[in-house]
């Protein structure tokens, strides 16, 4: 856990960071967000003492960090900078092994570790270990920069716009990779960004800064739903409600275990089921429960025969693990108001409706 206690930093006349207090729980990602020059980098660099605070205290894992030797402190905190900062004179392997080498690890162990880490970010060690930084693409260098910070398995990671220098498509890919890694490693991460979308995607908590002051510190959903003032509201954007769609999973909003029809059910049975549940359509499942198609209430009433003979193909199906953005996008694409939700194997798990989504988004506004 990292605790900042009334941290202030002044450079001559400018107050870069102004009495900031915050707490980053162990194993969570805290994104420092705000316009250029608001003090994000300065705040972060005070954690590994690249910058000495003018006043205030920082506590990392229970220890006052001013009391720890600065070199020891830095070796226990992973550090990634925007320019990546791989050393051009060292191979990828040696770059990754810098901190382990300094900590006196056995050489063999540190090189095995380097190979392991490369694999974690989908870079083939056979190919990349012996390369020099100038022989890497931007995205590859960025990945190496991130795993280098993880080499000695530090509990804390500081990342200053680590994905800032790559194109948007690659950035998404690396962000996803990194989130998967983090789900496994559970590091305590302070992450500087000026991109609200990146912050919403990565953060457990977002800290909004303005002119050195901490304006709001809350979960992404809370930040988007309840910006504490107009500055925050402007900063997160007028489409903030749409951004929240990303934060909610389909399975949290869908109606679970709804009634379903089978191919050999008659349309009468299907109509009866719909009437009882108050639905205007029903999903037909296969023998094992995979979503196969659907029939509407009107269709079932005016025709005769089995569901299997008269069903229509499902126009939209969404995975329960997807976020609401994917669901809404699919509804708009197919001009429909509901979607069948399935798991990875195609089994029918529930359905999601436009009303259900608006309701879920609205819930937090009504609460307050």
């Amino acid at each position: 856990m990292i605790t900042l206690d009334h941290i202030t930093k002044t450079f001559g006349q400018t107050t870069a960071v102004d009495a900031v207090s915050m707490e980053v729980p162990a194993g969570s990602v805290c994104v420092l967000l705000g316009p250029s020059g608001c003090g994000k980098t300065t705040t972060m660099k005070m954690i590994n003492r690249l910058i000495a605070p003018t006043s205030g205290k920082i506590i990392v894992d229970g220890k006052d960090n001013a009391a720890v030797d600065e070199v020891t402190l830095r070796r226990s905190i992973g550090y990634v900078i925007q320019q990546i900062g791989l050393f051009p004179n060292k191979t990828v392997e040696d770059n990754i092994a810098i901190v382990p080498d300094m900590l006196g690890w056995d050489r063999k162990r540190s090189r095995i570790r380097a190979a392991e880490l490369l694999e974690m970010v989908n870079l083939d060690p056979e190919i990349f270990l012996k390369r020099y930084p100038k022989e890497l693409s931007g995205g590859q260098a960025q990945r190496v920069g991130v795993v280098r910070a993880l080499a000695a398995d530090p509990p804390v990671l500081l990342m200053d716009e680590p994905f800032g220098a790559i194109d948007p498509i690659n950035r998404e890919v690396i962000q996803d990779e990194f989130m998967k890694l983090q789900a496994r490693l559970k590091k305590t991460i302070v992450f500087v960004s000026h991109d609200i979308d990146e912050a919403v995607k990565m953060a457990d908590r977002i800290a909004i800064f303005r002119e050195g002051r901490l304006i709001q510190y809350s979960s992404p959903d809370d930040l988007l739903a309840h910006p504490s003032n107009s500055f925050v509201a402007d900063f997160v954007g007028t489409d903030r409600t749409l951004k929240r769609l990303r934060l909610i999973k389909v399975e949290d909003v869908m109606v679970e275990q709804p009634c379903r029809a089978r191919a050999d059910d008659t349309l009468e049975t299907a109509a009866a089921m719909m009437e009882e549940a108050g639905h205007i359509s029903i999903v037909m499942v296969g023998p094992l429960g995979r979503a196969r198609g659907y029939v509407t209430l009107d269709g079932a009433r005016c025709k005769r025969g089995t569901v299997g003979e008269h069903h229509d193909k499902l126009r939209g199906v969404v995975n329960v693990d997807e976020d609401l953005r994917a669901a809404v996008s699919m509804m708009f694409t197919h001009d429909i108001t509901w979607l069948a939700c399935v798991d990875d194997d195609g089994f029918y798990k529930g359905y999601i409706t436009q009303r259900g989504i608006t309701h879920a988004l609205g819930a937090t506004y009504r609460d307050s």
């Binding site: 690249l50 402190l73 070796r75 320019q83 900062g85 050393f87 901190v99 300094m102 022989e135």
Partner: protein
């Protein structure tokens, strides 16, 4: 684009080399026919002795210059001295404009005649360009690399050796390369203050209007300069890691 330039320059240098070899061969054939070549070889014993002396002058002054200039360059780029670096660079630049002969004359007036003033003069002459390149090389290391190094917990002592010097090595060696080649040429002036070396044959040859003697001094000097340049060039190619070596 870079590859194209490279191959053009490789082709060019091959052509120049071939032309040089052909020229030397033609010259040799001509001199042989005029009897100049045999008369040059009359000086063989002197040449061998003087080459030894010449190399000693160059080696001692060169090694001393490297041993002083590189650490001095590192020192002058440390934080407490950083703000004086510009001043030092300008001062050193000024130093390099002093004519060589003046430096030799000055060092003779302090140290008398013979090898010591020669070595000192050559040392000063070689020191300056190496110092300038060391400073320039270290300053050209991007600040974010230093910051990354500090942030990962490299100590103030580790940073110059693991980051700054390796990344400046190419520029530093380039400075050493030119400085030594110039040193070889300048060492011929040693004769003027009694330091010996191949200059003895050259200047005596001029005085006696004896072209064979003059050439017996000039040709080995030129070859020595080319050899030194070649050797340091090879060191530059092989010793500097591929990641920071523009030659490979």
């Amino acid at each position: 684009m870079a590859a194209a330039t490279l191959s053009t320059s490789t082709v060019l240098s091959t052509v120049i080399r071939l032309a040089l070899v052909a020229g030397v061969f033609a010259l040799g054939a001509y001199w042989e026919s005029t009897g100049l070549l045999p008369s040059i070889f009359r000086h063989t014993d002197d040449v061998v002795y003087l080459i030894g002396q010449h190399i000693r002058l160059v080696a001692i002054s060169g090694v001393l210059a490297i041993l002083v200039a590189v650490p001095l360059g590192i020192l002058l780029t440390r934080t407490p001295f950083r703000r004086y670096t510009n001043f030092v660079t300008q001062f050193v630049n000024l130093g390099t404009t002093i004519p060589t002969l003046a430096i030799l004359a000055l060092s003779m007036s302090f140290l008398g005649i013979g090898a010591p003033p020669t070595i000192f003069g050559l040392f000063v002459l070689t020191l300056l360009p190496i110092l300038l390149n060391t400073i320039a090389g270290i300053r050209s290391v991007p600040p974010h690399l230093i910051e990354a190094a500090r942030g990962m917990g490299l100590t103030q002592r580790q940073i110059p050796f693991q980051v700054e010097l390796p990344n400046a090595a190419f520029v530093i060696l380039a400075g050493i390369r030119t400085a030594l080649a110039i040193n070889v040429g300048t060492a011929t002036l040693a004769f003027l203050i009694g330091g010996g070396g191949l200059g003895e044959l050259i200047f005596t040859g001029i005085d006696l209007m004896d072209p064979s003697m003059l050439l017996a001094g000039a040709i080995p000097t030129a070859l020595l300069a080319i050899l030194v340049d070649f050797l340091v060039g090879q060191a530059q190619f092989w010793l500097i890691p591929r990641g920071v070596n523009p030659l490979r």
